[in-house]
Symmetry: C2
Subunit: 579 residues, 2 copies
């Protein structure tokens, strides 16, 4: 008996393509596993409440039933499909929506066999907003054997879930095998965590464990696939990440399972959002440095996320504003690396009064290396015209922030004007450190359709650049990597004049954002009162900029975006140490 | 015995002010009711997971206990306070967070007496993300009498809640009175709904019902207060809306309660999100027209929401871009009406190539009427400079959307440059009709700190303008109200050239957004295939603009913003009628 793990890749609600995929698996003997909510896509958010969506989906289910019932019956073939099941009220209004597994056999109709029990509702997950939880363990029989069923989060348990469907299921065993249908978002540590957990569960169930995950980029959230089978501590097979794939594995025989005690890792808040500090315990703490494999995986994720957004939105051209600094150079490089046949990327350099000539040289050098068309659109004249207009109209000073921001906003404007001309998608170039402290101009350098580096700290951006140069030859000129970061919005401006050194800033930010450290915790981590106070202040007062920011490709467990929900107006004095 | 309904008004997490408010009620005999989450503010979103917040809050609870325990004991005095109760894990990580009622007596410590049972988790509500529900009815004894306790949503029940705490509580009766501590967001119909529901519950409980609600604007969400007491169908008293207030009412005696059957209104999805069409059933359907009281309430809500955001963010100046059209004129008028001593508002008019001279005349007239400083910042020269630059640098055409958007973005840029100069808060001028169909330029006319009219359809904006002129004398020049709407971004441009008439557009949009109508439903409502198709298309393809939009003051049950969660990338073909 074969287990086919179909890690599918579709646009949300693209029913006809989903149907094609389903049809293509037919007639191959074995158990065919499809991801959680394969029949609709995930996450749907409010789409699953939309009447037009609900009607079309039900029509789709009828189409599947009509098609399947005409197929000759087949004993050795079955599909398990993730989908939605609705209870509709009097006027077609959804009363209950369940996240379920359907069984589909040739010659039969869809049969609902299991409802997801553990509905994740933290961070980016809103499942309790939409779905009603199942109450009973997933037990399914096929070919005279019993199998255990789980959907995604069901395989995890934690101190904040108050429910442990996997252990409950284990009590209902034994099973010939256990299947998990997932739509599990990517982060840098996720694939490893899933396999570790699956091995422990296989041992608990004393049965092989098969895990199928969807592939796709849904705005900011990536699904990596990386489906697998394990049998105790043995890995039966692993599918690639970020690619549609069918992994066919034999139904493994029960083996010798090493004993596992109560040490199934708890998926607590800490483990979900643990800050990733360096193993080196010297103070002040530093972020853990990504190894080469991690750099490769992150780069792949960013390319995939970018392409998913572009293709689903119909873009064939990309546009990047180059400043001669690291972030925009790295973004341009990754965009270029991601290009598919028929796609192109263009760079624009927009020098102002304080742009160093070296910024142009370095930008040209990079574009030459990458083979990317670079145009220059100076902002000096527009800048001085606006300044004169204002000085002629208003009495207030134009110096300082006013003079700085207008340059950044002129660049945003020119960039979008060019985007209007060519239909290119503007890729945002802000990094996570800047976004966290508000070191950007609203409607200026913060513009874009999607952000590539918004979940990548500045020090991590350096690491990625270094890895790219190491792996692909010196693509990004050394001059770009070595020059001190600057927004070039006033004379001799350097980031480090107004911010702590990035190595310290990033570690403090990770402490605040992911590990929810207090002021005191951060002092214990070796940071000074002055820098901790400064970072907290900048972080709290820039919330309004993050609210209007573009979607950020999510590569970590804690990111800005949909799963980050912080009120704009609030008293923030509470972070200060208490007397 | 007196019941004191304290409808309090604080910034989130402003513990010292909250403490002052609490102290000021002390020693007045009676039962003092404070709103849901009075001790922290609401909605906190992720703030309630933040370690600095949690530590400071626990310190605050200790401060309250230390203070209360030193007060001489008093038999005829008690406070019921909404607050959070945490179960913390090993490292201070929250395992369970409950939304509770604390009892506080002079000479004692805080005592947790009830946990909210019905945690709203639809639309703007994410309570199941943060809170753990209580399991038992709220029964509380004081002075030898039994009282029933509810927190906000507990008093509602619906087909999608699967729980009816009020009916369960009724079975545990009889009670001398029932109290509801609320943090209930404003919408145009909410105050009426609450009182209707309370009257039905008072009848069910056969006891007087006291309801206290908080006051505040939290970004987009408004809390109106409007606390009250009812006894059966008798109203004991009603507190004002949008103002801090203490309403003291006698503890009423049980009266003759008219029988109530099973007709307690069900709070279903339909009733929550019902489209508000005109009572006139002729086709095509039209929106219900606001009466004078409703116009007054909405204007009050918009002024309150604006001032809440401004004051909590520290703004004393406002800035509005006037176009000579209705929306910006109405926004300026409402901003001016809202001004407090020490505040000011400035208007800027930014004429371009296609701005009619009448736009300036009308803007000047309005500003003269309002006594608002008006400056003109022409964009023609900047516009033509950019056009020439582009024509010199690029081969692609500059006509059409490129030429239109650059004007809108120049206005956004100049507006924000002026805002940088004066520290003024930019008030967005888009209306709900425009936002719904994407009839605005990203980073252009869509900019702002907060949107006043983003939940007001264009036809409703006309109605508000008409009401303001009726109530306060002709403030907004007739010319502004009568001229056909235009973005003035190309020659002879009129909104109605590319959109259905606003009366029809708004009704279609309300059908799609609030009532989740299908294509077919809308045809039944009397709209043409052509216009329905056009609106659906424009609506679906403008999601990316709404994602980066500023917070919109929410005045309806279904609004764009936090409670509206729709994926950007998706297949949208499903709205089309099925073969």
């Amino acid at each position: 008996m074969q287990i086919h793990l179909h890690q599918t890749h579709h646009t949300l609600a693209d029913f006809s393509t989903i149907f094609q995929t389903l049809k293509s698996s037919i007639k191959r003997p074995g158990i065919h596993l499809y991801p959680e909510l394969f029949l609709t896509g995930y996450p749907l958010a409010d789409l699953c409440l939309s009447a037009p969506f609900i009607q079309r989906y039900h029509l789709f289910l009828e189409e599947i039933n009509a098609w399947a019932s005409t197929l000759p019956e087949q004993d050795d073939y079955v599909c398990l499909l993730g989908g939605l099941s609705y209870d509709l009220g009097p006027e077609g209004v959804p009363v209950d929506i369940r996240n379920v597994v359907y069984e589909l056999k040739a010659g039969s109709s869809l049969r609902e066999i299991y409802t997801k029990r553990l509905l994740p509702n933290y961070d980016i997950f809103d499942e309790q907003k939409y779905f009603t939880a199942g109450q009973t363990p997933g037990i399914w029989e096929f070919g005279g054997e019993r199998f255990g069923l789980l959907i995604c989060e069901d395989m995890w348990a934690s101190s904040f879930h108050h429910l442990d469907p996997a252990r409950e299921l284990a009590k209902a065993g034994p099973f010939r095998a256990v299947f998990n249908l997932s739509a599990s978002p990517f982060d840098i540590y996720k694939a490893q965590k899933r396999r570790d957990r699956a091995r422990a569960l296989s041992t608990l169930f004393k049965a092989p464990f098969y895990y199928v995950n969807r592939v796709g980029g849904e705005d900011e959230i990536l699904f990596d696939g990386s489906s697998f089978g394990v049998n105790g501590f043995e890995t039966l097979g692993v599918a690639p990440r970020f690619a549609e794939h069918t992994l066919s594995l034999p139904l493994a025989l029960a083996t010798q399972y090493l004993p596992v005690g109560d040490d199934l890792e708890e998926n607590t808040w800490e483990s979900l959002f643990a800050a990733q500090f360096s193993a080196d315990k010297s103070l002040p703490r530093r972020l853990r440095v990504w190894d080469n494999d991690e750099c490769e995986m992150i780069t792949e994720a960013l390319k995939f996320g970018l392409q998913e957004y572009a293709q689903k939105s119909g873009f064939k051209k990309f546009l990047v504003a180059l400043s001669g600094g690291l972030d925009s150079s790295l973004v341009l490089t990754i965009v270029k690396m991601s290009l598919l046949p028929g796609q192109e990327v263009e760079a624009i350099y927009m020098p102002g009064n304080y742009s160093s000539p070296i910024s142009w040289d370095l930008s040209s050098k990079l574009c030459l290396k990458l083979g990317v068309r670079l145009n220059s659109l100076p902002i000096k004249f527009l800048h001085s015209t606006i300044k004169m207009n204002f000085q002629g109209t208003f009495t207030e000073s134009f110096e300082g922030l006013t003079d700085e921001n207008v340059q950044s906003r002129l660049r945003g404007l020119l960039l979008y004007t060019r985007s209007n001309q060519t239909g290119a998608m503007v890729v945002n170039t802000s990094n996570k450190s800047e976004i966290a402290v508000g070191y950007s101009t609203q409607y200026g350098d913060s513009v874009g359709a999607i952000s590539l580096l918004g979940d990548v700290y500045k020090t991590e951006a350096y690491r990625l650049a270094e890895w790219i140069n190491h792996k692909f030859g010196a693509v990004i000129p050394d001059g770009i990597i070595q020059r001190p970061p600057s927004a070039e919005l006033r004379a001799d401006q350097k980031d480090q004049d107004s911010l702590p050194p990035y190595e310290r800033l990033d570690a403090i930010l990770e402490g605040i954002l992911s590990f929810r450290y207090t002021y005191k915790d951060l002092l214990t981590q070796g940071f000074s009162e002055e820098e901790v106070k400064k970072v907290f202040e900048l972080y709290y007062k820039s919330e309004y900029k993050r609210r209007q920011f573009c979607p950020i490709i999510k590569i970590k467990s804690k990111s800005f975006g949909f799963g980050y929900r912080v009120p704009l107006t609030k008293n923030t004095g509470f972070y200060r140490p208490q007397p």
